[in-house]
Symmetry: D2
Subunit: 143 residues, 4 copies
């Protein structure tokens, strides 16, 4: 899975993240696993912005899980930094889709970027399942 | 709720905790909220040691939630430190019980201590409910 | 340390918190240690709002650490909930001060409340030290 | 960066991880970012086992940071599960090296696997720097 080029035509959603003590480690910088949390906040707010509530999806017996992440750590963020997560959908398939996400600051310096594959699964058995067509249409609308 | 004196008669359970990067913050020390996680690991292992599985309790429609914590932060732990959580039950009532817990190192230096009130609730409604008598007997056995 | 009554005269600062997946546990509710993180975000934003940067304090060789927390867990928050942390200083002494904090929703339902004692320490030795008078004046100004 | 095949000749180190409440989310499974923490514990214990203390390295003005992770999430772990992280070094270069890691259970079911690129940087400026030859020799010894 190669890093996706930013698609100029797709909807990009921006979400601000402030770095708190909880996010840092004794190296003085943001602990690497916490960027993974930041990316998830970005995807959640992306879906909320475009009207796709994860709790609603659960009621329709569809769950989306992260099945793959390629993460590139490029620069170290620090306490009090104000970061921006950008999120867009770059590819949609029958049972999965791909987000390209980036964490930057106000000066467009990139701290971290990731390609995130989301798989549609049955919530009880966690087995891959085709995305219901109504939801697939919604995902294509925002990609 | 006063800090409980250590009861000499009760069962005390010890559980080791290694401090990793994930536990520290940019002040160079363990982030204070993470002691709360360490205490929970200690209580979980205490219950496991004495045969009280939380998943088993769930099946009997009993959930235990933390309803109160008084925490005393006394000394700062650091990366790679080897800590020991001690856990004991100091009081048992009809719908709640109290743990006294301490985090120390090998030299009996105390880093953090806490009194933790656990309430018995109905898992679906999260309302207080009397602890079933069979489970109450078990809790009294290990206190 | 008793729970402080809300002081009507002091400055109260409100900060919104959205509940994400990372904040919840398999009980379906916010994991109790994460309220401790939420409280810390509230205090950090309180200090930022009133012009007291923790990084600035560090440069003046003053560090503030949490030395005591009394936490009352009253209601379970869930995924996607929008919470509000209220923060105020209720007491100021020579080497410590006390925050009273509350986590509520839009309908003033209280989820969690805490009394948090902050101690002034020397950052290198972590020993208690008197708060420098200029900073003490600032803290009294916002309490 | 392709997923590395397991090198049969290299040293593989195994580290047990118990799943606690703190690791799970309201989907009932381990929150995906927490596998990233588990992998870091595995690498830390690998280095400790083979005599490479990260605090010692810091004193020699060498810091190792995660510069890239490719993670494959294959199966959902749950509360109380006992997992095993396996860790090995699969490639060593002048200023970086690569870990291949896997999280499995007792029955060799794979939950998550990752290829982790570690870069050697100057701790103050976070710029890439060649690994000192004495340390490089140590890393090659355990790969």
């Amino acid at each position: 899975m190669k890093t996706q080029l930013e698609k100029s035509s797709s909807k990009v959603f921006y979400w601000p993240i402030r770095v708190y003590y909880e996010d840092t480690d004794c190296g003085g910088i943001v602990y690497h696993a916490n960027y993974v949390k930041f990316f998830e906040r970005g995807r959640t707010e992306f879906l909320r912005e475009f009207g796709l509530s994860q709790q609603e999806l659960m009621k329709q017996n569809v769950a989306f899980v992260v099945s793959r992440m390629d993460i590139n750590f490029k620069r170290a963020a620090r306490l009090d930094d104000m970061l921006i997560v950008s999120t867009q959908i770059t590819q949609v398939k029958h049972a999965s889709f791909i987000f390209y996400q980036r964490i930057e600051d106000d000066n467009h310096k990139i701290y971290c970027e990731a390609t995130v594959k989301i798989a549609s699964v049955n919530p009880t058995e966690m087995k891959s399942q085709v995305i219901p067509s109504a939801i697939l249409t919604e995902i294509k609308r925002v990609s």
